[in-house]
């Protein structure tokens, strides 16, 4: 497999409870390749297996068949090598740890010295504009702030691949758009590769360099649409190019669902 790909998936299949009467094939014959520094959104009808795909990529579950390599290694090897930063819809912060100690968590597991991880965690909190909230507990932060802490935590150890599963799904529209702009800023500053699961078409278009459209179950990538916006600022959402791409993704999604 090519070395210059962060992620390469070929003929991937995932069947839950194989061989039993309640067997469900969630993913079948799925192909996807992601180059370094790409921002790829995966969009599809709900329940189509987007989260399953992300968990397969993250090495949290095993595929039934097919090839999946991350930086030329298996998903398990990549997980054990800490190639992934993961962000879920729920921020998943530990309630009894302050914001900064939540960001430090992966660094702690990686055996960083206290001084070094404190310094890095501080930088990461500043990156997500939460420098002043280091010693706050999650219960003292808003939903959007919690999700920013979660992003800071995921990026703290500079993973080569950031896996995001509807990270802004639980946020209100205003916070959501603000978080999208923030995420793009962070993505540019950190040179990370992002795989972003969403069911929001405008969100996928605004964020991505490429949108991968998934088919209904059993899921595969039915279409890949490169997104080439001249710039991405809050004003971009009102431009003609943006509307054009949104409607292109929408039509693709519709035709895929109709199949």
């Amino acid at each position: 497999m090519a070395q210059d790909l962060v992620l390469e998936i070929a003929g991937l299949e995932k069947t839950f409870n194989p061989g039993r009467s309640n067997a469900v094939t969630a993913i079948s014959d799925l192909y996807l390749a992601v180059r370094p520094r790409e921002f790829v959104s995966i969009i599809g009808p709900s329940g189509c297996g987007k989260s399953t795909l992300l968990r397969l990529v993250g090495g949290l579950i095993e595929p039934t068949a097919g090839e999946l390599s991350v930086n030329g290694r298996s998903a398990q090897e990549a997980r054990l090598g800490r190639d992934y930063g993961m962000v879920f819809q729920a921020a998943g912060l530990l309630d009894w740890r302050t914001a900064i100690r939540n960001v430090e968590l992966p660094l702690e597991l990686m055996g960083w010295s206290k001084l070094r991880r404190r310094k890095r965690a501080k930088e990461m909190l500043e990156l997500v504009d939460l420098g002043g909230f280091a010693s706050h507990y999650p219960a003292e932060l808003s939903g959007g702030m919690q999700q920013r802490v979660s992003i800071a935590r995921a990026l703290s150890f500079e993973p080569s691949l950031l896996l995001m599963d509807e990270p802004f799904g639980a946020l209100d529209e205003m916070t959501r758009e603000y978080m999208q702009t923030e995420l793009l800023k962070i993505w540019r500053e950190t040179a990370t590769t992002v795989i972003f699961i969403t069911h929001s078409i405008p969100e996928a278009v605004f964020l991505s360099t490429r949108v991968a459209v998934m088919s209904p179950r059993p899921a595969r990538i039915a279409a890949e649409l490169p997104i080439d916006l001249p710039e991405r600022t809050p004003q971009t959402r009102d431009t003609e190019e943006f509307f054009r791409d949104v409607s292109l993704v929408r039509r693709t999604l519709r035709s895929v669902e109709g199949q």
Partner: protein, 258 residues
């Protein structure tokens, strides 16, 4: 600590004093046969007159309570850890714990006396340990297992081992559950220890003071021993509360205020 400041003490103190005053007043006004229910003042006098006997008994019973409590809490917490960590242990230990809990353990006190010796503290301790074990076990196990899937997946994505997940996520998550159980069993242990003493054994115990004096209609002295038992129970409850605050620290206050 908020509960140690004056403001929080005032309402329950006023209420308690009011209730005692009312008790005193009603008995003084109706003046029933004195031995049915002694007045608080009579109990206080009886406590004063028998203070050394009640104190010695409190130490004997208190030792049973504390040692039984400690044993039951440690066993319950360790069993919960084992059950959550090892699936097969869960399948065998949990039904066993449920079965033990279904036994009316206090009713077995005479049998324990036969097995372990009537004057030995072992039989009393055994009953307290068994009673304390179950609430601690069930609550702690629940706290250890009720963790968001995503938090576990997150830890796995950092290549954390199962023991590391236990230490970093499950155990801190279980602490509030554990401490709720601790406050519950603190008073349960007092009840268990005193009731077991009703079935015989040493003479110098709170349970024995209560049964002996009730038999000879010296209700005021019996009540004095009950007061001593209550004081032990309240002290243990607050001790559990203080340990909880020390263990959860500023986090508990942050969540309480948010």
């Amino acid at each position: 600590m908020k509960f140690l400041r004056g403001g929080a003490w005032l309402p329950p103190t006023v209420f308690g004093a009011g209730a005692l005053g009312l008790w005193e007043l009603v008995l003084w006004l109706t003046d029933p046969e004195g031995f049915v229910l002694p007045r608080p003042s009579e109990i206080a006098i009886a406590l004063g007159e028998n203070v050394s006997e009640v104190w010695m008994a409190s130490r004997v019973t208190g030792f049973i309570i504390l040692s039984g409590l400690a044993g039951g809490v440690v066993l319950g917490a360790v069993a919960a850890l084992v059950v959550i960590r090892f699936r097969t242990a869960n399948e065998t230990l949990t039904p066993l714990a449920v079965a033990i809990n279904a036994i009316p353990i206090i009713a077995l006190a005479p049998l324990f006396n036969n097995w372990l010796g009537i004057t030995s503290p072992r039989s009393n301790q055994a009953v307290v340990v068994l009673l304390v074990f179950f609430p601690v076990f069930i609550n702690t196990a629940r706290g250890l297992s009720e963790v968001d899937d995503e938090q576990i997946e997150l830890m796995q994505s950092y290549a954390a081992s199962d023991w590391r997940i236990m230490r970093t996520v499950r155990i801190p998550n279980a602490l509030p559950f554990f401490f709720t159980a601790l406050r519950l069993v603190a008073s349960l242990a007092v009840i268990a220890a005193i009731v077991v003493e009703y079935f015989g054994g040493r003479q110098d115990t709170l349970g024995n003071i209560i049964t002996q004096n009730a038999q000879f209609t010296r209700y005021d002295v019996a009540w004095a021993a009950v007061v001593a038992g209550s004081i032990i129970g309240i002290a243990l409850y607050f001790a559990a509360l203080i340990v909880e605050r020390l263990a959860t620290g500023r986090y508990a206050r942050a969540t309480a205020e948010a």
